[in-house]
Symmetry: C2
């Protein structure tokens, strides 16, 4: 009679993809493991949820009927956890500001400073997340507001674009390109292995990698990584190059690393974002501070 929300997530994923293999990939579990969990769920509820006919998978009537309940339970739980976490932070007079890597650069720091002078009783906690994690964190109640890097999935969130940053490329100091030019073109990176991550959605990875390239080609993929530090370790070692922001060129300038401006790709857009639903007045105040500063 008991279920784990994990199993419900598995079920919804299979129902959405109508494929165990693809759902397993999305869920970062093996296909056999996923099959077992679905079998277990089916025996628990006493009915087959999917019809597997060799080549294709489709929902049974029971599968269709259970699906809304599974979604409802997942939403209910996510929202409940988000509210508890958010209230707990509010109770402790905390304002948790999520960001990735350099976040919004100088704007973020100025906003925190200004906010703190107006609300000295509040502790503002900058919270660093892995690639794509800042938007996720808002949905999970792990941050109250965040500087999110676009493009990303903004469902469930309010967002205002407050800054843009030119994109730069990082490479090992010994890299030939570093010696050759002060600036580079995206086409100069055609044969360079590029860093990527499975933490962020595909859309995000493609945008950063400029995939497809202006000439229609696909980037050469290098090692995977979860966050800036890991990424730059790889790059300094010479395994790959990576794209980043102008701020990153300043913040993460170590001797083994060389940064160059990329002249011909669009800049990063950065938004301040916060979750839908009842909004803590402090969150709104912080967002307004950011927007005001951005307008200067």
């Amino acid at each position: 009679m008991d279920v784990d929300t994990r199993v419900l997530r598995y079920y919804v994923a299979v129902a959405e993809h109508l494929s165990f293999t693809r759902a397993a990939q999305e869920l970062f579990v093996s296909q056999p493991s996923l099959s077992r969990q679905i079998q277990r769920l089916e025996s628990e509820v006493g009915a087959a949820l999917f019809v597997r006919t060799g080549r294709q998978v489709r929902l049974t009537a029971a599968g269709e009927n259970l699906l809304p309940a599974a979604r409802r339970i997942l939403d209910d739980w996510r929202q409940a956890v988000r509210e508890v976490r958010t209230s707990e932070a509010a109770r402790k007079q905390l304002l948790r500001i999520g960001f990735v890597a350099t976040g919004a650069g100088p704007l973020g720091r100025r906003a925190r400073t200004v906010f703190t002078t107006h609300h000295p009783e509040i502790t503002v906690e900058p919270k660093r997340f892995d690639w794509g994690g800042e938007a996720q964190a808002l949905r999970q109640g792990l941050a109250d507001a965040a500087f999110v890097w676009l493009p990303t999935d903004l469902s469930g969130l309010h967002a205002h674009v407050v800054a843009t940053e030119p994109r730069w490329v990082a490479m090992a100091a010994t890299h030939p390109l570093a010696a050759a030019h002060d600036t580079v073109s995206i086409m100069d990176l055609r044969d360079e292995p590029l860093m990527w991550t499975r933490k962020a959605p595909q859309e995000w990875v493609d945008w950063w990698a400029v995939n497809p390239r202006p000439d229609g080609s696909t980037p050469l993929w290098g090692p995977e990584n979860d966050n800036v530090e890991e990424m730059l370790e790889h790059v300094a070692t010479g395994n790959a190059v990576c794209l980043g922001t102008k701020s990153m060129a300043g913040y993460y300038a170590h001797p083994e690393l060389t940064w160059r401006r990329v002249t011909d790709i669009e800049p990063l857009r950065i938004a301040v974002a916060w979750p839908h639903g009842r909004t803590n007045p402090l969150v709104r105040a912080f967002v307004e501070t950011v927007i005001d500063l951005a307008a200067l």
Copy 2:
């Protein structure tokens, strides 16, 4: 971010009893295990749910806020599973009739016979449950209708009393009481260890054991058991005596067992019951068959 509904049940139980020890007893888990699960839940949601102050346990604000969501999720899941199981049975043209031990005796069998002649396309499946399990089975969608033995918790169920049965007592054939009388009084059983179960609610156990006795005394408790067969094994071995129905005296008459009518206790009331909510017309038809037969 994931939870098991089991953990939510634990949480709700602790919140209702405001005691880990008592909740653990109700849930049939050890107190340390329960404590650990609650700790785990608390770290998952990022807030303490209970304040433990040595002598007493009370809910925190976060604990109060999470409670409705936990209850909602549990109800949602129970209902979803019940509906899937019920629809699946309907799809297979099954009508599952729950009962305990001898159920409603001859009435149950006659009702199934009559129903089958009117609905030959339907397979009627008598389903036997452990003590107190027939009402539970209706709530869990494991039966479509059932003969429930009163008193029991009827929440979520419709019920009509359709029969009563005098109560008899079973003892080992070698038992002194068996030789002495044709009938016995409840007071004759004062010093006899009586069978009991933890499957059914306390109310049920007390009613069967006639606790307290007319003179205010408490029965002497014998071995525990889950169902008729286990109970009668104990009784035949001479470990205890047990109370049962007149039907049981006929159905379960083996040589090592002697049954005697108990003259001075109220008879068992038996109801036909079915779950709240959308009701399959076949269920209603069966219930009406039972009620009609009972009226004869």
